[in-house]
């Protein structure tokens, strides 16, 4: 995993509340045994019609949406199934961060482990971002803040451990394996 300290991009806004992981990646794409190449399946049923043709009315298909790395989504994003395919698909589509006022526990944990920065903002600040789609934002993990070029600023908190792993680009398994002595002692009890 590459270290992440800041993410700068225009936002893509999906204002729907309770976007569940079945929307982020429908179950029929879960038969894969790989974790790569799932960007095509991201929001598949929102982006493609019954015949597999791109839907012109989907914001996610608009040429200007490509390359937008910050997803701002309605409340309670990522609820439902624990499939890690959801953050894999979002990352492969091109997102590096997702912002909402509430993000489901398992999704958030999965996202952070894969370098998809999941940020929960206070409802009023979240509402401001929902109301201004396509603005330029800079997410800074060092100061745990989000800014736009005109002086708007919002602070957020991130679990200290997850933040350190993101900023150093280290994965959590290495940390766990280093606890071996403690684990062995526990098993002896």
């Amino acid at each position: 995993m590459n270290p992440i300290t800041r993410i700068q991009s225009t936002t893509l806004v999906l204002p729907q509340e309770n976007i569940d992981t079945d929307q982020i990646i429908p179950a029929r794409f879960l038969t894969t045994t790989e974790r790569t190449g799932l960007g095509r399946a991201a929001f598949y049923d929102w982006r493609y019609d019954g015949e597999g043709h791109e839907r012109a009315d989907s914001l996610l298909n608009a040429p200007e949406s490509r390359g937008r790395a910050i997803l701002v989504a309605g409340r309670n994003f990522g609820c439902g199934s624990s499939r890690e395919h959801a953050p894999w698909a979002l990352l492969d589509y091109g997102f590096q961060a997702v912002i909402s006022s509430e993000i489901a526990d398992i999704f958030r944990s999965n996202a952070l482990k894969n370098g998809l920065v999941a940020i929960v903002l206070a409802p009023d600040q979240h509402a401001e971002l929902l109301a201004r789609p396509g603005i330029e934002l800079c997410i800074d993990l060092e100061s745990m803040s989000i800014r736009d070029p005109h002086g708007w600023r919002a602070g957020f908190t991130l679990d200290a451990f997850a933040r350190r792993c993101l900023m150093m680009g280290v994965d959590q398994l290495g940390y766990l394996l280093a606890q071996r002595a403690a684990i062995e002692a526990f098993e002896e009890r």
Binding site: Q16, E17, N18, D20, D22, Q23, P26, A27, R28, L30, T31, T32, T33, E34, R35, D45, G50, R75, N76, C79, G80, S81, S82, R83, E84, E102, A104, D105, I106, S109, N110, K113, N114, D159, A160, F161, R164, D171, Q172, L173, Y175, L176, L177, Q179, R180, A182, I183, F186, E187
Partner: protein, 467 residues
């Protein structure tokens, strides 16, 4: 200081305590594995040259991608896609290579992962239990901390038998009083989610308490805990009692003989202390719970069966009603149904099949309806066939299938067609969950069976009255 059941179990599994800088290292007693969320984790282990740390604490089965039709004349199972078949074979290969027990076809124990853990007696009070599957919360019915994890974490547990976890907050949901006739555990949990909302439990571990909960049998408690995740909760649990111990006694992977009695003595201490405080308490009167169904596109969009579809005009309600094909203010009862699905880790156990069969005996599934009955495991299937339930379903015009997740997640080719309405005993009614464009109404087995007969959403209490 008085402690909650959750606190006691958490404390007993902390390997390294949580600090501001790092989450706790939490020991995992039982790790359940299935074909969909494990391949990438085994790949990770292989790439790093790591073994599975505790194979005896790891148990695998096949459920999501497997066909529910038997092998054809050529002896081949009718997999939906080549990829599905490869996923199954990948788990077989991984299990053999890493020395993990796999309950495969023909083992007599294969089935939906959350059905087989309890029926084997692998799920026990006081444990920490995880699986790469959000409905792992089911196992909390035994007084265990049980929760779903992602695939990276599946790798963590395989390699270290531990997880990095922050302690969640606690929430008590107390349901007191007597449940009415025709009201089941499924109705209780649909009512709870409707009341607290799909994010009502986020960040919390729920303990279900109160006289109505104590009165549920183990299968009902599993149905209840199963859907804790649908309220956003990390996990749900019920303190173990005589009902729990009676269920476990004699199960193949439970302690046997004197060991079992010693275990029971330990398990009796697993209850929240009097005066233990929860971060949040919700009280529900059992008498207020009717047979409950969903009308919308998440499990919190529910209503009593004799109510009508909300006429609210907020964007979410309007969108959900349009997707589902409901009119504002339309009565739920009488809305036409195309498919009825009885099965899943929520309601695919023997008691669920018995309830459905009791209503279908001597009756017919409405000609408009395709009804699929899918036992949760091979053991459930054998049990049901020993009682002749399969004959009841077939005589009524329903299809009797092989065990698996089936239409709950529609990965194996068991699909609801676009625009069709399905009354389903599973746990998720998200858009497209049962197939692209499928419309899912979540319900209890009794409501599903009554609806199959009527060809429309039906109140099971009315059907009982006719008998």
């Amino acid at each position: 200081m008085p402690r909650t059941l959750f606190d006691k179990l958490w404390d007993a599994h902390v390997v390294v305590p949580e600090t501001a800088d790092a989450p706790a290292v939490l020991y995992i007693d039982l790790h359940l594995v299935h074909e969909v969320t494990s391949p990438q984790a085994f790949t990770e282990l292989r790439q790093r040259g790591l073994p599975v740390r505790r194979t005896e604490r790891t148990l695998a089965t096949l459920d999501h991608s497997t066909p529910t039709l038997p092998a054809g004349a050529n002896g081949e199972l009718p997999y939906y896609t080549a990829e599905a078949k490869m996923q199954v074979e990948t788990l077989r290969r991984n299990a053999a290579e890493f020395g993990v027990r796999l309950y495969d076809f023909g083992s007599g124990h294969r089935g939906v992962v959350h059905v087989i853990g309890p029926e084997l007696g692998a799920t026990q009070p006081g444990m920490t239990i995880v699986c790469g599957d959000s409905h792992t919360s089911t196992h909390g019915a035994f007084g265990a901390i049980a929760f779903g994890i992602g695939t990276s974490e599946v790798g963590h547990v395989l390699a270290s038998q531990c997880l990095l976890q922050r302690k969640p907050k606690t929430m008590a949901i107390e349901v007191d009083g007597r449940l009415g006739a025709g009201v089941s555990a499924k109705d209780v949990i649909l009512h709870i989610i409707k009341s607290i909302g799909v994010e009502g439990g986020t960040g919390h571990a729920i303990e279900y308490r109160g006289s109505a909960i104590r009165g549920l049998d183990m299968e009902g408690r599993m149905t209840l805990c199963n859907m804790s995740i649908e309220a956003g909760a990390r996990c749900g649990m019920v303190a173990p009692d005589e009902i729990t111990f009676d269920y476990l006694r004699g199960r193949p992977l439970a302690p046997q003989g004197a060991d079992f009695e010693a275990a029971v003595a330990r398990w009796r201490a697993l209850a929240s202390d009097d005066g233990a405080s929860f971060d949040r308490v919700v009280r529900i009167d059992a008498a207020d719970i009717a047979p409950t169904v969903t009308w919308g596109t998440h499990p919190g969009m529910g209503a009593a069966i004799d109510a009508s579809v909300p006429a609210d005009d907020d964007a979410q309600t309007v969108k959900a009603r349009a997707y589902m094909g409901f009119e504002a203010g339309e009565a739920l009862v009488g809305h036409p149904v195309d498919v009825v699905f009885i099965g899943s880790c929520t309601n695919g156990r023997l008691s669920d099949l018995r309830v459905a069969a009791s209503l279908l005996r001597g009756r017919k599934v409405h000609p408009r309806v395709r009804m699929l009955v899918v036992p949760g495991s091979e053991a459930v299937k054998q049990g049901a066939e020993a009682e002749g339930l399969h004959e009841v379903f077939r005589a009524a015009g329903a299809e009797w299938r092989e065990p698996g997740c089936s239409m709950c997640i529609a990965m194996n080719g068991d699909l609801v067609a676009p625009g069709q309405t399905s009354v389903s005993t599973s746990n998720r009614n998200f858009e497209g969950r049962q197939g692209k464009g499928a419309r899912t109404v979540l319900a209890s087995p009794a409501t599903a069976a009554a609806s199959a007969i009527a060809g429309a959403i039906a109140d099971p209490r009315a059907l009982r009255a006719d008998q």
